[in-house]
């Protein structure tokens, strides 16, 4: 039986983590995502499922607790917001190198630095291009509703274990703080059988398991790099997710994810009321990016407007994908300012003027 609740996006992530059978959450408070840790502490998941929740001394400690738990083959989740995610990059890089599955939630706020606590999408580069040191990628999911905040927790764990790679849910303060209806799946049991690579204690019937990202031999390291690059290739083949809204007869296309995609849906309505045939392509996976879908639409539309709450980060991936076939521009607000549906429409009208 599914269960209906009215919840903040942050709370939905926390509840979904319990229901997905997560083994542990480690985190550190930071606005605008502290409700995740608060909800978990209030819910006593240890009594519901045996799930462990611990408030760490720092984001650095929290991500390394995630490393320790993930290395035992457990389903472990952590969350933070931009400045805290920067601190976690060391651990995320180590986990990508050690091929450990885990779920990292970034409820983005405006930066750089301490910035603002208001919503932003300025951590796109950090999320999809690696983030920490070394050649690696995260699989990045971008929810646009409280329902997807919940749904992507279970999906994120599945993908993390499928590829033995950290998965990031890239969301923002608006989705974290807003309440919407959310349907929850039934409680999944926590796993009782762990992957063969996990450090659960060396039994006599197997070799010892070692989890490390260290390969002092360069040729060995290069081989390892090749192996993880092959995983990213497989992700590109199998895991691209996106949604097309009013794209069938569209002449102009918005490309936006997360909160911006929600606002653009209103802009599409407003545009169509004025006789502009606008559509929206919403990437759901930011890595792998829906390059093919963007290219296909580039052959059909007259112009594209990437809408992001940043100075323009995803727009670079859009431009790479369209291979110069169509004009691509960026519109965005920064520093925690959320663009309104009608200012996005004005930006589209300006683009149309330039093209015609």
């Amino acid at each position: 039986m599914k269960e209906l609740k009215l919840m903040k996006g942050n709370e939905a992530i926390a509840e979904a983590a319990i229901r997905a059978g997560a083994d542990a959450y480690f985190g550190y408070p930071i606005t605008p995502q502290s409700e995740i840790l608060e909800y978990l502490m209030l819910e006593r998941p240890h009594e519901r499922t045996g799930m462990i929740v611990l408030q760490a001394e720092s984001e650095v400690a929290a991500i390394n607790m995630v490393y320790g738990g993930a290395a035992c083959g457990r389903k472990v989740i952590t969350s933070s917001s931009s400045p805290g995610i920067s601190l976690k990059q060391e651990g995320i890089s180590y986990m990508a190198g050690s091929e450990l599955p885990c779920l990292v939630v970034n409820v983005v706020r405006g930066g750089p630095g301490l910035g603002t606590i208001q919503p932003s999408q300025s951590d796109y580069f950090q999320a999809v291009k690696g983030g920490g040191h070394g050649d690696y990628r995260l699989l990045v999911l971008a929810p646009q509703s409280v329902q997807e905040m919940a749904d992507f927790v279970g999906l994120g764990f599945d993908l993390a274990f499928k590829y033995r790679n950290p998965v990031m849910i890239l969301t923002d303060g608006a989705l974290g703080q807003m309440m919407e209806k959310v349907w929850f799946d039934e409680q999944k049991p926590r796993q009782t059988v762990f992957p063969s690579w996990a450090t659960t204690g060396k039994s006599t019937d197997r070799e010892r398991n070692i989890i490390t990202s260290l390969n002092l031999d360069s040729l060995k390291q290069e081989k390892h790099n090749q192996k993880i690059q092959d995983k990213y290739k497989k992700m590109k083949e199998n895991e691209v997710r996106f949604e097309k809204i009013e794209c069938d007869n569209a002449e102009y296309l918005f490309i936006a994810y997360g909160t911006s995609a929600r606002i653009c849906q209103k802009s599409v309505q407003l545009a169509r009321e004025r006789g502009i045939k606008a559509g929206l392509l919403r990437p759901i996976t930011l890595f792998p990016f829906p390059e093919k879908a963007v290219l296909e639409l580039a052959n059909l539309v007259k112009g594209m407007l990437a809408v992001e709450m940043s100075t323009g980060q995803m727009v670079e991936d859009v431009k790479l994908a369209v291979k110069g076939k169509v004009k691509v521009e960026h519109f965005g607000r920064m520093g925690g300012v959320i663009p309104s549906p009608d200012e996005i429409l004005i930006a589209l009208e300006n683009l149309i003027k330039k093209i015609s």
């Binding site: 607790m65 490393y67 659960t200 060396k202 990202s213």
Partner: protein
């Protein structure tokens, strides 16, 4: 007159009086001759073997000379980022409370970059063991000044000796964490003489045994020379350690059964 035996005969099973512990792998250790790491690895392996807990033990390695410890011990191990081993161990032990969990960390790892993780794991009373090997220097990176480097001691980043006015004082982190309510057993030992090796092994055993009680963190500090980093022969280095390190970092138990021993 005793019978002379050849080099080939000496390694025959019937002639062996002392052998490699089965929990040590066949990999050749990379440690410098005279360094304490090899001895401490062996002691930990012996204790795990004697307690018959190979399948119950998870070790966490640091960044430092012992970063490759997992090559030498035949148990499941995780390699941590620099200083973060207590965070990993916190998760491992909480997720598998029935297992024996230990970290193995040098002074740079534990007392500089990992100070926060060390202090908070100790203060939360996490139920695992920290083996803390202290040689007063960063060995792996080539002998730089460590948080535990003594006043006036030379290193590659204190070439004229540690000037405490400029570079700060050595950090006696073991005495510091012993004062936290979360630590249950805290001791300092050395492995430079057979008698010290025996005492160190007892301490290691006691630390593992105390995990059964679930009463808090156990920390065993082992003072070691770093003859390469100190630019001395192994024997000179041990002598220097006894004369200079021991007065600053006295050997012996500091906290037993959750109670500080009053040394005054």
């Amino acid at each position: 007159m005793t019978k002379r035996i050849s080099a080939d005969d000496i390694v025959k099973e019937e002639n062996l009086v002392y052998k490699k512990t089965s929990l040590l792998t066949k990999n050749v250790m990379h440690y410098c001759p005279g360094c304490g790491h090899g001895t401490l690895h062996r002691l930990i392996a012996e204790v795990i073997e004697e307690m018959n807990i190979q399948s119950e033990t998870i070790g966490i390695t640091p960044v430092g000379c012992s970063v490759l410890m997992y090559n030498y011990l035949d148990i499941d191990m995780q390699g941590a980022a620099h200083g973060r081993a207590p965070a990993l161990a916190t998760a491992v032990k909480r997720l598998m409370p029935g297992k024996y969990v230990f970290t193995y960390q040098g002074d740079g790892d534990l007392a500089a970059i990992g100070t926060a993780e060390t202090i908070h794991a100790c203060n939360r009373g996490e139920n695992f063991t920290i083996f803390f090997i202290n040689n007063g220097i960063y060995g792996m990176t080539g002998g730089q000044m460590a948080p535990t480097t003594l006043p006036e001691m030379r290193s590659s980043t204190s070439p004229y000796g540690r000037d405490v006015k400029m570079m700060g004082n050595p950090l006696n982190i073991t005495e510091l964490v012993a004062r936290l309510p979360g630590t249950y057993y805290v001791t300092r030992q050395a492995v430079h003489t057979p008698a010290n090796v025996r005492k160190a092994k007892k301490a290691i055993r006691q630390a593992f045994e105390s995990q059964k009680l679930n009463k808090g963190l156990s920390l065993v500090e082992i003072l070691s020379n770093c003859n390469s980093g100190w630019k001395m022969s192994p024997l000179q280095a041990n002598k220097w350690m006894v004369e200079n390190m021991f007065p600053f970092y006295p050997i012996g138990d500091i906290k037993l059964e959750g109670k500080l021993l009053d040394k005054e």
